[in-house]
Every structure is written in C-alpha cells, then in structure tokens.
C-alpha cells in the first residue's frame, strides 16, 4: 500500500484549507454559483437531483482497513449511513451538506484519501485490475505504476484543463479485468525477451460515441512510460477538439485522424520529451514498489476448505462463484458481492464497510479492493479461513453467491440521483435480480453480464454488457433500449442494438424472454450467453424479444 509522505500530507491539507475558504465564500455570497461551481467540481462535489454528491477517489481500487473504516465513519457522520461504489473505483456519498464537505475532506485526508480530480477535464482516478497483486495470471502488480501515474498527473499544470475528462486504466495480468480497451489510455504490462514493458492502447471510451481503443505501441519499454504518456496527453491537448464537447475525447481524434497519424504525432512528441526525463521517475517508481511488497503468505493446510465445500451446499455455491485463483498456494481471492438480490448495486452500509475492514484484518492481510463491477474484493485469504469468512459475510447480508451471474449487475445511479439521467437504472437492476432469484434460474444460466445506464453517458458500461440496457426518455416516459453482445474483457466489443425499446413495465419481461431463449438455444451448459450470441447472431434473440412481428415496427 502506498504510504503518504509529509509532502503528500501537506499538499492535501493546503488543498482542503483552500476549499474550506471557497465554500465559506460561496455561503456568505462573495462567490456566485458560476464562480464556485468549477471550484467545487475540482474537489469532486456535484449537485445532483436531490442533494449534493461527493465523489471520493479510491486509487487503483485499493483500500486498507482504516481507510474503509473512515469511509464508514463519514457515511454515518455526514451522510445517510451508506456509500455507493462506482465503476471507476470511486465511492460516492449521495447526501452531504455543502457546509460540511470541508470536514469530510479533512476526515478523508487523515487516511490519505481525497476527491481531487474525481471530476473536471483532468486525468481521473487511475483504475487497475481489482485482483492486482494477487491474481494467478499476473505478470506484475500494476499498482506501483498506477501510483506513479497518479503522482505525475495530480495537479499537473498542463492537464488541469484538458478538452475533456481523461481516463487511464491499467492491468498487469494476461486476462483483462480492467476494461483497458474502453479507456482513453489503457495499459497492459507485457513481457518481451524477459523484459517488462507496456502495451499502450489509446482512444477507447463509452458514452455517446462508444469505441474500442487501438494499440499505439505493442511494446513500450518500462522506463519510457511517463514520457510516452506525456506525449499522448500533449498530442491530445494540442489537437483535441474544443469546439464541441461531444467530440472532445481522444477517441474522436483517433477516429478523425486515423491511428497511424496519431501514432506518428505521439512518437514525434515522445522523441522531444524523452530527454526531459532524467530517471527521477524511475527512482520514484522503485521507491513506490517497496510499498507494494506482497504480504507474508502463510503456509497451512487447506483441508478445512475442502471439508466445508463437501458438507455445505450454501458454502459450495458461494465458493464456486465468488472465489478466483490466487498466485500463492493455499490462497484464494474473495469477491464480496454488493449485489444482494433486490439491493442497490454497489451500495454498502457503514456496518458492512466496518465488517469488511475487520475481516480484511482478520483474514485478509489488511487489504481490500473495490472492483469496477461495484463489488469488494479481499485479495488474499487463506483457504482454511474461508468457511469462517463466509459465515461472517452471510450474517451481514454480504454472502450472496452471484459473482459473474445475472444478478451481478452494474447499474449507474440513473435518475434516482443523477441530474443528467434520462431514466432510472437502479429499480431495473433490482427487479431483474429479484425476478431471476424467484425463477431460481441464476446458477443454471451461468456467466452473464447485465449492465445498465440511465443515459447515453454510459457510466453503467451498458455498451460492453452481454446484455446492455440504456434508459431513455421517450415522450416523457421511461423507455429502455437493449444491446446485445458487448464484452468488457480481452475481446472487448460494443454491443448491438436489438430493436425498439421497452417500457419500464416491460423491460424485466423482455430480459426474461432473452434469457429463456438462450437456455433453449445453447448447445450445452458450457456455452455461455455471450458464446451463444456470437454463434447465432441477433436473429433468434430478436425473435424472443419481439414475439409479434408488429412490435418490430414500433
């Protein structure tokens, strides 16, 4: 875990002091809202539909138990006893009061957390594989690199007023769990001839014009990372469109100029900039790496795990869905579902946060992660501790065995909170999860990703859902459009629109028809929804969605 230096602490304290004064000046009337708004956004404070919303960064999704406890304390003292974990590894508080936000920021600073660059046209929270440092398929832990990027990009004067927000995601594993192809820059640690470097993917993004990123470099030597990132950002800053905010993302540049031209421009900048990097960045990286040393893994028998798995079907169901392969023998990665059937995806109560902090201390080498799929990970748990861990989770409503299944839905806040939304997302997610729980089909259906957004900004990643749902306003009524065949992993793909949208009353039935059709169409239990879709294409699913041909004309 990165440990804050005196410099870091002083920086945060000064920044919070400034913001406290700005809030005071807004309240006493010496700043207008137009003057104040950019200042509050620089500190992650939005005004939403019913209240303010504070977005706190969780750098590369990593938390220690005291940070998690602090998040719980903030939820209790200044919010309504819960927090919402998001697809960008942030936590959002939905009910802070303007005059108390400076106190919240000070409380966060006590544990090295902040809300800087969680909004605005800057480099946003750098996200990473949520299994970082633990995954069996990992080449290297991506978090030291993510921390280096965070230090380089925080308050970087050239990147405070980019054309648009800029998102960087990084993975150090062979399987992409960080959706790197849907980021402005996606980085993948790769190995060539025994040396580590990066595959650099540029120009992905969801939102109004969803695009899968293109590889600019398939191997960038490790030491060249920051000058190369500077080159990409400088190219974007110079060339990026500012005439139209919908065309301002780097993905549009790639689309308009072509990947070859952008690559040539980036390489030119890179040659110019590389000399400015004297190697200090590499020294810094080496220092940061020492903070991320793996914990002292325990060598112990794991027969307790096998016994519990054989004896207890509830434990077995959970173990089969919520555990992933760890690189240390005898260990597992635990994904704790924040998607209990009928609950709001991504929400955790303060009690649940505190319990997770306790469990991370007791069984998890003091580490927690937040995934972009809105779940919490205990990355290092010895298998012999899993039965006790599972029992503790179940008691707190955190034992849902549904990771990767139909009710493990990503849903953005939608019109229940978000001022930009065109329809609600949360009730749709709640109803789908409840419906399939009642049908008892979830485990039979197997891996299936449903992702829901309440508007075209696509915060709920609907474009890369196997089933994507987009909430729209059609003549003053909520309407939901379905896309099929999206994929957020290695073969990242944007889903295809199935046809006309469904009303709020019809969307759950439509999803049910889709899934029942899949059960009929699959060749075996091993053929997932996505594979079946790829084999058969849209036609049979469209027929299930629109049983009467007259519906298609709507």
């Amino acid at each position: 875990m990165y440990r804050y230096s005196e410099f870091d602490r002083a920086f945060l304290a000064e920044r919070n002091r400034q913001f406290r004064a700005q809030v005071a000046r807004r309240i006493d009337g010496s700043l207008t809202e137009d003057e104040f708004k950019p200042l509050r956004l620089m500190n992650g404070l939005y005004l939403q539909l019913h209240a303010y919303m504070l977005r706190v960064a969780i750098p590369y999704g990593t938390l220690n138990p005291s940070q998690m406890r602090k998040l719980a304390e903030i939820a209790d003292r200044w919010d309504k006893g819960y927090g919402h974990f998001t697809t960008r590894q942030n936590i959002q508080y939905n009910w802070p009061r303007l005059n108390e936000v400076p106190d919240i920021l000070d409380a966060l600073a006590e544990v090295g957390l902040h809300a800087i660059q969680t909004s605005g046209n800057t480099i946003r929270n750098v996200t990473a594989d949520h299994f970082a440092g633990a995954a069996a398929d990992e080449i290297a832990d991506p978090r030291p690199v993510a921390e280096l990027i965070r230090q380089w990009s925080t308050d970087h004067p050239e990147y405070q007023f980019l054309g648009r927000k800029f998102k960087i995601g990084i993975t150090g594993a062979t399987h992409d769990r960080a959706v790197i192809r849907a980021h402005d820059i996606g980085l993948r640690i790769v190995e060539r001839d025994g040396a580590q470097g990066f595959e650099v993917v540029v120009g992905g993004g969801l939102g109004r014009t969803p695009m899968i990123g293109s590889t600019l470099r398939d191997f960038l030597p490790r030491a060249d990372l920051l000058p190369y990132l500077e080159a990409v950002l400088t190219t974007y800053n110079l060339l990026g469109r500012r005439d139209n905010k919908f065309k301002a993302r780097i993905k549009i540049l790639l689309h308009e100029h072509g990947v070859d031209k952008i690559r040539a421009l980036v390489e030119e900048q890179f040659l110019r900039l590389r000399g400015d990097f004297s190697g200090v960045d590499q020294q810094r990286l080496a220092e940061i790496e020492t903070f991320f040393a793996p914990p002292a893994f325990r060598d112990a028998p794991s027969s307790a795990f096998d016994d519990a798995r054989a004896a207890d079907p509830v434990f077995r169901a959970w173990a089969d869905t919520n555990l992933s392969a760890h690189r240390a023998p005898g260990y597992a990665i635990v994904t704790v579902s924040l998607k209990a059937h009928g609950a709001t995806p991504g929400d955790a109560s303060s009690d649940q946060m505190r319990l997770l902090a306790d469990l991370a201390e007791r069984y998890g080498h003091h580490e927690l992660r937040i995934s972009h799929e809105q779940n919490v990970i205990l990355p290092h748990v010895h298998k012999s501790d899993l039965p006790a861990l599972h029992a503790a989770l179940r008691n707190a409503g955190l034992g849902t065995a549904n990771i990767g299944l139909i009710s493990d839905i990503i849903a953005c806040p939608g019109m229940d909170y978000c001022a930009l939304a065109t329809a609600r997302s949360i009730p749709v997610a709640q109803q789908i999860a409840t419906r399939f729980e009642e049908l008892k089909l979830e485990h039979d259906v197997g891996p299936l990703k449903i992702k829901i957004s309440g508007c075209i900004n696509a915060c709920g990643h609907h474009h890369v859902g196997h089933i994507g749902i987009l909430g729209l306003d059609r003549a003053g009524v909520e309407n939901y459009q379905i896309t099929l065949g999206g994929d957020a992993t290695d073969d990242a793909a944007i889903g295809t629109r199935a046809g006309p949208g469904f009303s709020a009353d019809d969307i759950v039935g439509a999803v049910e028809r889709l899934v029942l059709a899949y059960l009929d169409l699959r060749e075996s239990r091993d053929e997932t929804f996505l594979h079946t879709f790829r084999r058969l294409g849209m036609a049979p699913f469209r027929a299930a969605l629109y049983p009467r041909t007259s519906d298609m004309a709507a």
């Binding site: 009337g29 019913h50 939905n94 009061r97 709001t344 003053g476």
Partner: protein, 99 residues
C-alpha cells in the same frame, strides 16, 4: 406558431442541503410541491424566475418546471419532476423521510 404557455412552478435546489425547493406565492421556498405557486401567465413566470435568480445566496439552478393543476395542488407532468418531488426510489431518503 408559438406553443401556448402551459402552467409552471419555479423550482431550484437549496444552496446548503441541495434539496429540491419550490417558490410559493408568498415568496417563501417550500420543499413541498403542493405549496408551490402555479403560474399560468408567461410574463409573470419570467418575473418570478428573475425574482428567484436574485436569491442566489440561498439556492442553485432555478428554472421553470411544467405542472398541471390538480386537486392537491400542482402535479408534475414529467417523471423527472415527479422524482424530484419525491426523492429516490431505492430508499425512503430525501424529502420522503420527513413524510
């Protein structure tokens, strides 16, 4: 042809809490839509909106929202205003809490 003016209320967010608020006929701000002044005249609506905007130390983002007059006072005509009136659907939070 210009569209006929439809009834409106003046609404905004409270500066400190962020709560949805409505302008009443006696120049106060209420959290309760049923107490809002229904404005049926376009020129009057513009004046009321200007009046609201001058109170920028108490509120943010004043605008005119469509309503239909009903038995219990103004009724929202669009689902967004309905949600703003009530609060989120997943928890009894926001103004629903007080009810």
């Amino acid at each position: 042809m210009p569209r006929p003016f439809t009834p409106k209320v003046v609404t905004a967010s409270a500066l400190i809490e962020g709560d949805v608020i409505y302008l009443t006929a006696d120049d106060t701000w209420s959290r309760d839509l049923s107490r809002a002044e229904i404005i049926t005249d376009e020129a009057h609506a513009q004046l009321r909106l200007l009046h609201a905007e001058r109170q920028a130390n108490e509120l943010v983002g004043a605008y005119l929202a469509d309503v239909a007059p009903g038995a219990g006072g103004p009724q929202p005509t669009h689902f967004r205003e309905d949600f703003r009136r009530r609060g989120p659907s997943n928890y009894p939070h926001g103004k629903q809490e007080a009810v």
